[in-house]
């Protein structure tokens, strides 16, 4: 996260490859399910043996013996509807919820986040020197109205996308944050409204940032967990 600060986001998980390297983020929506983005994974039937999610710690690469850290193997991947760019990861066992690990809420189906709502991204991705890259960073971004964003993007905004307004200071997600959450406070709870996806450039000051609009796919998320 560029232009952010160290913070606590107990639903944000780090996705690690077989060599133990962090390469993407995700959000814990159920004890045994993580939402992330398709861009991070080789295919919809990728063999994820040896891949893990790490939660319960603020450190990107915690020292062995970090008491709250949990590392859980990923059992399999399920791809969302074609244009969603979402995936769900089933964990080998449920995560233990505690002060460091919590579920993020799912929005009501097809819910619009009101423009101006201040939401938060989180991740262990590239900070471009703006903060301590060894810990979880968070940053606040205001939601931009759909029409305004569509105009700024010259009509190329999709129904499945959600925008946040660019900030002059250059604040935004970057490489390593993809798949992580855009969380918005609603009724005293943090709700997963967006999922971070790759942009051509991080933290632009002149263009809105795009996220996958989760509320369009809540029915699919529930269906996968039920099936």
């Amino acid at each position: 996260v560029v232009g952010g600060q160290p913070g606590n986001s107990p639903w944000t998980v780090s996705i690690r490859n077989r060599a133990g390297l962090h390469f993407c983020g995700g959000s814990l929506v159920k004890e045994q399910w993580v939402v992330s983005t398709r861009q991070c994974f080789a295919s919809c039937d990728a063999d994820l043996t040896g891949y893990q999610v790490q939660l319960g710690t603020l450190f990107k690469d915690p020292r062995p013996g970090d008491p709250d850290q949990q590392s859980i193997p990923i059992l399999r991947i399920v791809c969302g509807p074609s244009e969603s760019q979402l995936v769900m990861l089933k964990l080998a066992r449920p995560a233990a919820l505690n002060a460091r690990v919590a579920l993020i809420c799912l929005p009501p189906e097809r819910y619009i986040v009101p423009a101006g709502t201040v939401c938060e991204i989180a991740g262990w991705g590239e900070t471009r020197g703006t903060s301590d890259g060894s810990v979880l960073n968070v940053a606040r971004l205001p939601v931009l109205a759909h029409d305004e964003c569509n105009a700024a993007l010259r009509g190329r905004l999709k129904e499945s996308e959600l925008c946040t307004a660019p900030l002059r200071a250059g604040v935004g997600a970057c490489e390593g944050d993809y798949g992580g959450p855009l969380a918005c406070l609603t009724a005293d709870c943090w709700v997963l409204e967006g999922v971070i996806t790759p942009a051509r450039v991080c933290a632009r000051t002149d263009q809105p940032a795009l996220f996958i609009r989760v509320s369009l796919y809540v029915d699919w998320i529930q269906k996968v967990m039920k099936m």
Binding site: Q39, S82, A102, L103, C105, L106, V135, E175, C189
Partner: protein, 457 residues
């Protein structure tokens, strides 16, 4: 420090079924290594079953190549067979060869060792010398390798021309796809088994890297080194390259793409050379600001040109060393992924709840499971539960009015359901997105300790 298991080839979840004259020995308690020790010292033992759960082992006097024997899946057993009996190549002069080749290099049939006609001789089978049937053997350490007496009266004996293991299977590029039988390093040290952590602890567990072919103690290249290597059974030497013949023909690169990347992007040959955070990539032929092993000349098949994003080591996506000292590598996830779904074969209106077409494949090309079937998935929705939904055969349908269109249960055991190769007939009406008129309550989610937020680090 050499494990007795080094002489064995392991087949996971496999049992050897035989129609024996007499039943095999009763199982005895023991770890896999203890079983290997017993089988090695037993003259007629050629393989053993090892039950992981109960830690029992059963010695067997046959292998998969023995007559009236067959392999069968069995999750309770791991089958270990003596390599000497399975190899169809030779190590050194082939004295230890126990394969089943029974013809000479010129195609003559071998004379059984027990027979003394048409050629009389002194090499008669015994429990120790491994002479058996009419198989090629090397009882007198002949430099040319295993041989036999021939059934041709005019040719007393002839070499069988069995290749050396390092020549039997050649390797291409950096040998990442090499699955041959070489199990010694180039200086002749025997390799350590990948499924053992002694004498050297290491991260390459076969279960963790199922696609790297980390079988037994064969030379492999799981980390994109220059060529196959292995951990050695010499405690003083952790790992060493192996000598393996390079195939003359270099394989044509697969899955080459330039404007997008597929899978992990090993075939990406595009020209993106800036990370998503705006840092230029370092040239592959440079060693500053980052020293690295991926010298273009040593990786001829990886197209490490200029400073383009590439994936020479099977990482998650194309990546590069960056021109910034503080950032060693960066993935190039901003390169678009190539579409990997079938073209739509049909279209549907609204949510497709009235779709009655005959498409029966998912968007990934997997065949749909019949709605009335209960395998491989036990359906929660079936013709019984939804009689009005026209759930015929295995045609795509939308019985639960899924807003993302017709779907089906799939024949892939790992994918309970998926959407079909069908698209909306016309541009979908904008989804009715609603604001929150009535208050929403969330349960047991979305809460955190906010103190951390206010107190800066």
């Amino acid at each position: 420090h050499r494990s007795p298991l080094n002489d064995f080839q392991r087949l996971r979840a496999t049992q050897l079924l035989a129609v024996p004259a007499e039943p095999p020995l009763a199982p005895e308690p023991g770890s896999a290594e203890q079983c290997a020790q017993r089988c090695t010292t037993s003259l007629d033992c050629r393989a053993f079953h090892h039950e992981r759960q109960s830690q029992l082992c059963q010695l067997l006097p046959w292998t998969q190549h023995s007559p009236h024997v067959q392999l069968q899946k069995n999750i309770h057993y791991d089958l270990y067979q003596k390599k000497a009996f399975l190899r169809d190549c030779i190590v050194g002069d082939g004295t230890s060869y126990r394969g089943t080749r029974a013809t000479t290099e010129k195609g003559l049939r071998c004379q059984p060792w027990r027979a003394t006609t048409p050629h009389d001789h002194r090499f008669l089978p015994s429990p120790r010398n491994g002479l058996e049937e009419n198989y090629c053997r090397n009882p007198d350490r002949d430099k040319r390798g295993p041989w036999c007496y021939t059934t041709d009266p005019t040719v007393r004996h002839q070499s069988c021309g069995i290749k050396k293991c390092e020549d039997a299977v050649c390797m291409t590029c950096n040998g990442e796809q090499y699955r041959g039988p070489v199990d010694h390093t180039e200086s002749g040290i025997e390799c350590q088994r990948w499924d053992l952590q002694h004498p050297h602890k290491h991260p390459y567990h076969p279960n963790k890297y199922p696609d790297k072919g980390l079988d037994d103690n064969y030379c492999r290249n799981p980390d994109s080194s220059e060529r196959p290597w292995c951990y050695t059974t010499d405690p003083g030497r952790e790992r060493e390259f192996c000598r393996i013949r390079v195939c003359k023909k270099r394989p044509r690169p697969q899955n080459v793409t330039t404007s997008c990347f597929r899978g992990k992007g090993e075939g990406y040959r595009g020209r993106v050379n800036v990370t998503v955070s705006g840092i230029p990539c370092q040239r592959w032929d440079a060693q500053t600001p980052h020293q690295h092993q991926f010298v273009p000349e040593k990786y001829p098949c990886k197209d490490l040109q200029e400073n383009y994003c590439r994936n020479p080591d099977g990482s998650e996506a194309p990546w590069c060393f960056t021109a910034r000292h503080s950032v060693r590598i960066a993935f190039c996830f901003h390169i678009r992924r190539c579409p990997d779904e079938l073209g739509a074969e049909d279209c549907y209106h609204r949510n497709g709840e009235h779709y009655r077409g005959h498409v029966s494949k998912t968007r990934k090309g997997i065949t749909c499971q019949a709605w009335a079937a209960r395998e491989p998935h036990v359906p929660q929705i079936s013709p019984v539960t939804h009689p009005e939904a026209h759930l015929e055969n295995n045609y795509c349908r939308n019985p639960d009015n899924d807003s993302h269109g017709p779907w089906c249960y799939t024949m892939d055991p790992r994918t309970p359901f998926d959407y079909c190769a069908i698209k909306p007939c016309c541009e979908p009406l904008p989804a009715l997105l609603q604001t929150l008129r009535d208050a929403v309550a969330f349960e047991e989610c979305g809460r955190r300790d906010e103190r951390l937020q206010r107190k800066g680090r």
